[in-house]
Amino acid sequence: MTVHKTKLVKFVSTCALAGLLIGCSEADTGAEPEAAMAQEMPAEAAAPDMKYGFGTSVGADIIAQYDGDIHIDGTGLPSGSGNVALGREIYEIQCAICHGENLEGVREMGAQTMHEGRRDIKKLPYAESLFDFVRRSMPLTDPGTLSNDETYGLVAFLLVETGVMEDPELTLDADSLKAINMPNRDKFIIDPASGFTAEELEGK
């Protein structure tokens, strides 16, 4: 700790002076390790196990007001259900203006096709995260307003329209949604630099 501190001070002073007077060129290469420490110092200074007592402890009721996400193992999926017909009806009223009659995307509204490329619904790894995104983020002009039934219906509609599911009368609820295995699930290459393997990231 002390050693670091001295180095830090030295770095700051040489650099401040050199920077002002000669454009700080020679000093630089030598100063690199010290510079790195200058960034790491403050965090180390904070006592690692100190409890400060700031903030307010909360229970399940408050957490429920804030938390609406769905985990890939299905945790968080709400009760309720919806079928393709309900989904189609909502889609036409609330979504088609941006996503197009056939999910082709309306460029001027900023939406792209959901049939291929980066936004391809077939390529999604988990139906859970599709439900999560639709309920939390869509319709983009009024997010957070879809009911659970409507969201189940919309997910059923999107999966049937993109050919992931075959049954044109599909009805989804928490259990049936959890049972869906997305076709592209095993096509993800996990960057080794993440520190994880594909298996470690599996939801089920």
């Binding site: 650099c15 050199a18 454009g23 060129s25 630089d28 290469t29 100063a31 690199e32 790195a36 200058a38 960034q39 790491e40 403050p42 965090a43 904070a46 690692p48 100190m50 409890k51 400060y52 700031f54 903030g55 307010t56 402890s57 909360v58 229970g59 957490i63 804030y66 938390d67 996400d69 769905i70 985990h71 890939i72 193992d73 001027e108 509204m109 900023g110 490329g117 980066r118 999604l124 988990y126 859970e128 995260s129 599709l130 999560d132 939390r136 983020s137 983009l140 002009t141 997010p143 957070g144 096509k187 993800f188 290459i189 996990i190 960057d191 630099a193 993440s194 520190g195 990231l201 939801g203």
Partner: protein, 411 residues
């Protein structure tokens, strides 16, 4: 009049440079009326009131470039790298991308909930958060899609258009590990979900190892409050990781044992490969550099001395070397790195150069302390496939014509 102006090199330079409004400036009386009766030195030179929060001179036109997809809910802006110096980006010129508009948040109302696999879930006001120990660190922030338009062929004319989705600030906030330690982590904790308070509540999964390493809950940028488009009043900063993971307007952190595979991590910020595979969870913005001067859109004023200067950065570490070629990659010379040279931070490099007036291509290549070397486009295609978009780190060529005109050309 002529005598007087000759004593004023600044003014003379403006006139020589033909700044269109200089004549108007001399005759303008509006500001003088508004501000003061004390004239500036010399006839007609006004003084101005710079207000309670300084703004750039009206002669300084450096600006971001804005772009929107659709009606403006998804959009952003690019930093004018070619007009900036040093390694810090002024907050007002810092690039930004938003996925459902920039919300206007009252910090007195804003709260952060941290819950999930912790012993004691807590909600924090901004006041609470600001009582914890603070750190200030210089870090670059780069959008994963920086230069995505360049992937197949050169398109942007300036360094702002090709590389303007990276910026660098000094960020201040509480180390995330301090907060997680405050709550106590459960044994199976491995991931965090970070959720923003924008309309669509953007979410990303963050590995716990990063949260416990150098992640910051930041509220200040270059000493002052974060700008609205940077997440005011609170953003997550995961240094060196792709911009999208640095969730803005942070409202909630949930500790879990698996990633959430959120929309933005499994589609938009994942990389489809030619073989139908998708590369995902590629967090790091890797070793990269660009010459910002002279660069695309500029014209050299005949043969002679020029300083080649630019930025290098790496999400995996500290820049150790930048090489510059002024003969289309035939030979390379080491540029000088200007202090401070910090980890996960923009680093300014400079190299003197005398142009002989012949057509050529100039480029830079950076190396970091993990040994990573910035690739050519061919090398990058081999790693990522030719139809990527995200994480373009390839070497940028600027072609200088005999006329001195500089274009973005890699032929």
């Amino acid at each position: 009049m002529a005598d007087k102006t000759s004593l004023k090199p600044t003014r003379r330079r403006f006139i020589q440079a033909g700044v269109a409004s200089s004549a108007a400036l001399l005759s303008s009386t509006t500001m003088a009326q508004e501000t003061t009766l004390i004239p500036g030195r010399g006839p007609g030179r006004r003084v101005i009131d710079t207000g309670y929060y300084g703004v750039p001179s009206e002669f300084a036109k450096t600006q971001r470039m804005k772009g929107n997809r659709g009606p403006g809910l998804v959009g952003g802006s690019l930093t004018p790298l070619h007009e900036l110096e040093g390694m810090v980006t002024p907050a007002g010129l810092h690039f930004e991308v938003h996925h459902s508009g920039v919300p206007d948040i009252d910090p007195a109302e804003h709260k952060l909930l941290v819950h999930g696999l912790v012993d004691d879930a807590k909600i924090f006001t901004m006041e609470d958060l600001m009582r914890f120990p603070k750190v200030s660190r210089f870090h670059f922030l780069e959008c994963a899609g920086n230069g995505m338009g360049e992937w197949m062929s050169p398109r942007g004319q300036t360094a702002q258009q090709t590389h303007g989705l990276t910026s660098c600030s000094q960020w201040t906030g509480v180390p995330l590990k301090v907060i997680l330690n405050e709550l106590g982590l459960r044994g199976d904790a491995k991931w965090l979900l970070a959720e923003g308070d924008d309309g669509a509540r953007m979410t990303r999964s963050i590995p716990l190892w990063k949260a416990m390493d150098d992640a910051i809950l930041a509220y200040k940028q270059n000493g002052e409050w974060l700008r609205a488009e940077q997440g005011f009043p609170l953003r997550l900063l995961v240094p060196g990781f792709e911009g999208n993971m640095n969730v803005k307007w942070l409202r909630r952190l949930e500790v879990g044992d698996k990633p959430w595979w959120t929309h933005h991590e499994n589609t938009e910020y994942a990389d489809p490969r030619p073989d139908d595979m998708i590369r995902a969870f590629s967090f790091y913005m890797e070793c990269r550099s660009v010459i910002t001067s002279p660069s695309g859109g500029m014209t050299l004023d005949g043969p002679g001395y020029y300083e080649i200067s630019g930025l290098a950065w790496s999400g995996t570490g500290t820049i150790t070397k930048v090489e510059v070629s002024t003969d289309n990659g035939g030979s390379w010379q080491e540029a000088q790195l200007e202090a401070p040279v910090l980890p996960r931070c923009h680093t300014r490099f400079r190299m003197p150069w005398t142009w002989d007036g012949k057509e050529t291509i100039i480029m830079s290549r950076s190396t970091d302390d993990t040994g990573a070397v910035q690739p050519t486009y061919e090398e990058m295609y081999k790693i990522q496939g030719p139809i990527g978009m995200m994480h373009n780190t390839a070497i940028q060529n600027w072609k200088i014509a005999q006329t001195g005109e500089i274009t973005n050309d890699r032929s």
